[in-house]
Amino acid sequence: MTPDMLIAAALILPLVIAAGIAAFGKFPNLREGVTILGSIALFAVVVQLTMLVSSGLRPELYVGEAIPGLAFAFKLEPLGALFAVVASGLWIVNSFYSIGYMRGNRERNQTRFYICFAIALCGAMGVAMAGNLFTLFIFYEILTLSTYPLVAHKGDAAARRGARIYLLTLLGTSIGFLLTAIMWTWVVAGQRLDFVDGGLLANANLSPVVASALLLLFVFGVGKAALMPFHFWLPNAMVAPTPVSALLHAVAVVKAGVFTVMKISIYIFGDELLQATPSREFIMAVACFTIVAASLIAITKDNLKARLAYSTIAQLAYVVLGAMLADRAGILGGSLQIAAHAVAKITLFMCAGAIYVATGLTNISDMRGLGRKMPLVFIAFFIAALSIIGIPPLAGDWPKYELMQGAIDRGADWVPFVLIVSSLLNIVYLLPIPFLALMPPPGSKPPKEFKRPGGAPWLTVAAPLFTASLCFVLFFMVDPIADFLAPAFATVDIDPEVNIP
């Protein structure tokens, strides 16, 4: 297949899968077969695209113009390829997990669930491959709207409330700030919205005030990046079934957010303009505040998913921080964090879901000694927690290392300090969970019997174990990944005029 057909396939496949799921809605086994086969096919397509990208190609697809100048255009570059691989690859694992979870939990409306999931993946692919801000915005909103029914899945008052907050925050920030910023960019960049190596606005002669305002609108407009004070939708989205929290609210949706921030900082602003923009330092400070504050809130949460949600907020701010550092180490650190945090956090959520299916427990304080009954789940949890903390040889080690180096290079000496505090806080809020479960203090009462006879379905245990092992694999793959990403931050030496499409 030609590169443009591959991109079209990556965008259309999820929709075909959604149609297939709808067609086989009455036959659950066939329906899940469609999801699994489809996700594998999507991953294969994305891997092919990624191989093209690593050989130096930039696969492009031009669909047409909505109105003169506003094109539906796609162009895959290394950063987007990384995000697409992570999202589509983990979708396969998560699909297996979903089957175990949704059946084990006897959830209703499963067909609608799988359909929305597939459409959400279409949104994520579109965000990853968008060639300009307009296309990115459209798929960003598809992602928002398609995940709304997933958050509201249970249909009770709490789910509806959570979903309403979810929708209003994400739509409000994206329409209010992001769209405004896009329209403003269109005007100051001379009626263009393309992602350009070296930065679309690099030669636009923006005054520092305008550049500052634009950057603030962009960064806070991407509500999916969950930067404080627009973070509260994420804990509210935890009313969703756990597979949704695992893939969408630890990987696809939130990573689409931070990926968008990255992409804007690299391809719209470019490193030179970004460094000359005063509000950059303010956003760095907000990111650091988010890291510390969200970690502190996480400690206070006894509900496991809520604690993980606040942990996600803190970890996402790493990527924003990396993007705002605007140098090689910062961007590399942020990109590695997208992948490393994805595999670790999806593991943690899957473990939380497995525990819930087996026992119905959601509070950490009730899980003491539970590790005796479900050792594999808590071992996977333990590994992923270590990765989040950043202990070698686990994937989470590299982003922290790169971010610290980038910050020191930039003279922001306080950033490494924040990162170290964050690691310590990670230890405080994550490690007690597996410790208390596997080695309960003497005298604590043994956990109750399983709610579901036979404990967690095997699919819900195998999936987190697999992703936990990915934490090891990623640690050793950092070199090829860094080489692959190199073109994204090697723009300093490239004449910005050369790569204009």
């Binding site: 109105i67 003169p68 509806r160 309403r164 409000g172 329409i175 209010g176 769209l179 403003w184």
Partner: protein, 510 residues
């Protein structure tokens, strides 16, 4: 492509008289309808008349686009310079297309709702009034004569009062609503005609093109300025420009549902067209007093409508009232676009005018469709409808999302264009209001959609059914148009750009 085919296949007389026939066909058909013994026959004839008008409107558009200069000048009865001129350029052609197209779709869907809303022996007369109203609106959009515009405005207004009052069979409050509208509409028409009188006194002509040619020499003349003010207020009243919109919520809420749908999609649009014609073609933004009006009157009023009426929409419990307030807010967007007074701004206003008739047409049509079986129109009455009437309600949802301005819908495109125009003009602060108002739309539409799709029916005993097929077909035509023009907006944007260029007297831009 289709336009060319139509042009080549059309007979000679049709090409020559197309612009006039849009108005003449319904005007002649109306009295015939009044004599029709059966309602069904009357409906069928009305369908024929609106279809013919639509055909001629498309033809007119084709002729305008293919003539060099882009203007059709049609002197009624060949009374050159003495009589009444029909003058159609890209701007009128667009409006005529919207009005006649929406009238045709409205007539298709009308039959079941008329049966439900109107007494059997009055159906013929009701449709006669509708055709008169339609002919009047087309006349306003087509004419090139300032006084003739008043005549057509009154034809459409008088028949509209009748149409609104027909809602009294369902709800007696339709009578005061029609009376209010009558008073306000008469005021508007009087203001307009007083303004025309002042200008006639100063220029000695009623022909718009002639007046436009004479006015630059008279820009400092007091009676010209006074006339201008009267005309803007008069047409602003008809266009439901905030705060002159008080007649609209009641008129929309209590009319027969077919009338609501037709008026929402066309009536304020035509008045707005007339306003654009006066502001840009006859007068010109170069006059100092007009520039001041744009910045200090129209723009603030547009913004006030967007924000205040969106707030009012959020707090309505009746769905028709909610949509009515939303209409006033949407008129605010168009006024804001116009007040930028650049080609891009007027084009954005016109694009929203086009898209909004698709949106509100679809919304009111879906509403009318589900109200056939049971009349309640509060938000609670809509709870759980997503299960019992999925086809009707998904079309409603599409149009609702378009009203918010969600990407991939037509509404998104018009907000995008409006935002660009505002930024381009340096009015970045106005963008904040557009955005804020869109956010309010998320609330009022979202509340409705949530009730429809996620809540259980309030009173399970009373069932609503899916709308009949004859409602579903035009409804889905509009809903799909909302999506299509959100993905490929080149057709409406082209129309709007040409229209704006024609209004401002520029060569087609972009």
């Amino acid at each position: 492509m289709i336009l060319e085919l139509l042009l080549t296949s059309a007979p000679d007389w049709a090409i020559r008289h197309a612009a006039m026939l849009i108005v003449v066909v319904p005007l002649v058909m109306a009295p015939i309808l009044a004599l029709s013994p059966s309602g069904r026959l009357a409906w069928f004839l009305a369908l024929l008349a609106t279809a013919a008008s639509t055909y001629f409107a498309i033809l007119t558009l084709g002729i305008v686009q293919s003539t060099p200069g882009g203007i059709i000048e049609y002197w009624i009865g060949n009374w050159y310079l003495i009589g009444i001129e029909f003058r159609v350029d890209a701007l009128n052609a667009m409006i005529l297309l919207i009005v006649s197209g929406m009238a045709f779709l409205a007539t298709v869907f009308a039959w079941p709702t008329i049966l439900a809303d109107v007494e059997k022996q009055k159906i013929s007369l009701f449709l006669c009034a509708f055709l008169l109203c339609f002919a009047g609106l087309c006349g306003v959009a087509g004419t090139g004569d300032a006084f003739n515009l008043f005549v057509f405005l009154e034809i459409s207004s008088l028949s509209t009062y009748v149409l609104v009052a027909m809602g009294a069979r369902n709800d007696r409050r339709a009578l005061p609503a029609a009376f209010d509208y009558l008073i306000m509409g008469t005021l508007a028409a009087s203001f307009y005609i007083i303004g025309v009188g002042f200008l006639y006194a100063a220029t000695g002509t009623l022909n718009m093109a002639e007046m436009a040619a004479q006015l630059p020499a008279l820009a400092g003349n007091r009676s010209v300025q006074v006339g201008f003010a009267f005309i803007v207020v008069g047409l602003g009243l008809k266009a439901a420009m905030w705060p002159l919109h008080q007649w609209l919520p009641n008129a929309y809420s209590y009319s027969p549902s077919f009338v609501t749908m037709f008026l929402a999609a066309t009536a304020t649009k035509v008045a707005l067209y007339a306003l654009i014609r006066w502001l840009f073609t006859i007068f010109s933004p170069d006059y100092p007093f007009e520039q001041a009006i744009f910045t200090w009157v129209l723009a603030p009023l547009g913004i006030a409508a967007m924000v205040i009426c969106s707030f009012q929409a959020v707090f309505q419990t009746d769905v028709r009232r909610m949509l009515a307030y939303s209409s006033v807010a949407q008129v605010g967007y168009m006024i804001l676009g116009i007040s930028v007074a650049t080609a891009a701004g007027v084009s954005a206003g016109l694009l929203h005018l086009f898209n909004h008739s698709l949106i509100k047409g679809a919304l009111f049509m879906a509403l009318a469709g589900v109200c056939l079986t049971y009349k309640g129109t509060t938000v609670r009455d809509f709870a759980g409808l997503g299960r019992t009437a999925p086809l009707t309600m998904s079309a409603f949802a599409i149009a609702g999302l378009s009203l918010i301005g969600v990407p991939l819908t037509a509404g998104f495109m018009s907000k995008l264009q409006l935002g660009y125009a505002l930024f381009d003009h340096g009015w970045w602060w106005a963008v904040l209001f557009v955005v804020f108002s869109s956010f309010l739309a998320v609330f009022y539409v979202g509340r409705l959609l949530q009730a429809i799709f996620f809540e259980a029916p309030a009173s399970p005993g009373r069932h609503r059914k899916e709308a009949p097929l004859i409602v579903l077909v035009p409804l889905w035509v509009l809903a799909l148009a909302n999506i299509y023009f959100g993905i490929d907006a080149s057709f409406p944007v082209g129309l709007a750009n040409d229209g704006a260029a024609a209004a401002l007297g520029l060569e087609a831009f972009q």
